[in-house]
Amino acid sequence: MKKGWIPVFLLPAVILFLLIYAIPLGMVFVTSLFEYRLSSPEMRFIGFTNYIRLSGDPDFYTALKNTVLWIIIQCTVHVALGTFLALLLYKKPRGWKFIRTAYMVPNIISNAAIGMIFLNIFNPQFGVLHSVLKAIGLEHLTRNWLMDANTAFPSVTFVWVLFAGYTTTLVLAQALSLDEAVLEAAKVDGATSFQTDVFVVLPLLKKIIGTTMVMAATYMLQMFDLIYITSGGGPGKSTTNLPLLLYGVYKGENNYGYANTIGVVIVIVGIIFMTIINRSLKVNDEDY
């Protein structure tokens, strides 16, 4: 009786998984080997032609470079910032709960809103940056931050890199659950609070930091909305990443086979980064 219900209970989740994850993932790989566009809906097998075209496409290298760079920045600067804040907060200084909550706010509102907000913060007419520069007499430094080739990349990065609320929340929760006795032992052995943090607490948090790095890498790998709304990937292709490149090929060229070739590269870059993070932090130890 009980056994009979198992498939019924699993079915909705499995169907959803097949429709939105598994089948699309298979389609990305298969159609990347086909000539497949809006103008000629009849698919034609062309082997690795799309990949050969991709390997000679300078825009692809720009997008790949930006994607990889952003993943690295997010896994280092962003995660370090969130972890540092968590290490200060786990000793429960006054107001720690408020700080944790406030820091989460940018992570729970929509990226479309964050994008719009920063589009305005960087606005060269009335944006915050411009207004502040004007107020301190440095108006001549103002530029169209998101559209100037020299400042677009750091400006777009700024839109997400500081908001490490998820990292802080996760690392903090793990730090709070650490065994008090271990920390006491370090103290008895004469370790300063700084030494305890670096040599005792941090190593114990390795696993959760690894998890936040995987989350940060996945997040940056699929980043689309914040770039689309702020810089749109420009000027030129200077802030285009792989998802934006894919979207451009898909909407602009209506070349689905080629767009999905970029999709395959996104998946592969993801696998490479997961492997690197897991290897370097041994996140997948048996105790996981």
């Binding site: 989460m104 305005n120 009335f126 997961m274």
Partner: protein, 274 residues
């Protein structure tokens, strides 16, 4: 002495973090009450008076109201479906033994790391083949699935933490599998269900990329999309644009304010116990 300096530095750092996180939102909300002229003359001044013209403008020049209702319908239905379907699956994974259980669970949880923007076109294809392009149903289906891995993780953990004795008592009393699930287990798992629901709701409410890909008309477009409307067509009515952004962020902030303990504990439960 050294301690005092360090403690001061610490609080300066805290202030910077809180400021960085809250300033952008406070700035937008304040700006939504300023007139266009005020905004253009000084971007960081306080509003001279509280004027709701931006809000009435935003409602009249853009379809933000109908987008808002689309968002409400889509986010609520997809959240309910997500929690319901994944609670069923999570329960089976937590309690039943069957062949291939671990491998099926592993494959489903891979969804967590599949980069969804790589699948833009095939997902569009699936939705279109099902005749659901540019419909609320299409977005509901996709959003129900997008929140699959997190909900599965959270609710499996919740069911695992409930003592087995409860169900055994129910079975002894003659309750069947389905009745035990609905009448005993679901009420016991309320905390996990709420956590999963809050995260699923925020995810659906805030989603932008698939909404952009899978809709074209006012029937199904959601609130985040209405914001990009303001960059294109009404780029000179800044007050209305700030008002629109405020309208879009308030529900997320309210939901978070009410359920923040839940969000925090669910995030932690999901990723730490894993």
């Amino acid at each position: 002495m050294k301690k005092g300096v360090l403690s001061t530095l610490k609080y300066i750092f805290f202030s910077c973090c809180v400021f960085a996180a809250l300033f952008p939102i406070v700035w937008v909300v304040l700006s939504s009450f300023k007139s266009n002229a005020e905004i253009l003359s000084n971007g960081i001044s306080l509003p001279e008076s509280f004027d709701f013209k931006g809000y009435t403008d935003a409602l009249s020049i853009s379809p933000i109201l109908s987008y808002f209702f689309n968002s409400v319908v889509i986010a609520i239905i997809s959240t309910v479906l997500n929690v319901f379907f994944l609670a069923m699956a999570a329960y089976v994974f937590a309690r039943c033994e069957f062949r291939g259980k671990n491998i099926i669970y592993f494959i489903l949880s891979l969804a967590m790391v599949i980069p969804m923007t790589a699948l833009l076109h095939p997902v569009y294809n699936v939705v279109q083949k099902l005749g659901l392009y540019d419909t609320k149903t299409g977005l509901i289906m996709v959003y129900t699935a997008l929140n699959l891995p997190m909900s599965l993780l959270i609710m499996r953990g919740t069911f695992l933490s409930i003592p087995r004795a409860l169900e055994e008592a129910a079975y002894v009393d003659g309750a069947g599998f389905v009745r035990t699930f609905f009448q005993i287990m679901l009420p016991c798992a309320k905390g996990g269900l709420t956590s999963a629901a809050v995260l699923a709701f925020l995810g659906s409410w805030n989603e932008f990329t698939f909404a952009l890909m899978l809709t074209s008309g006012q029937e199904a477009r959601t609130l985040p999309l209405s914001l990009s409307y303001f960059t294109a067509q009404f780029s000179f009515n800044y007050t209305a644009m700030f008002a629109a952004v405020t309208i879009a962020v308030i529900p997320s902030i309210l939901v978070f304010a009410v359920f923040q303990e839940q969000v925090v504990s669910s995030l932690t439960a999901g990723s730490i116990k894993g």
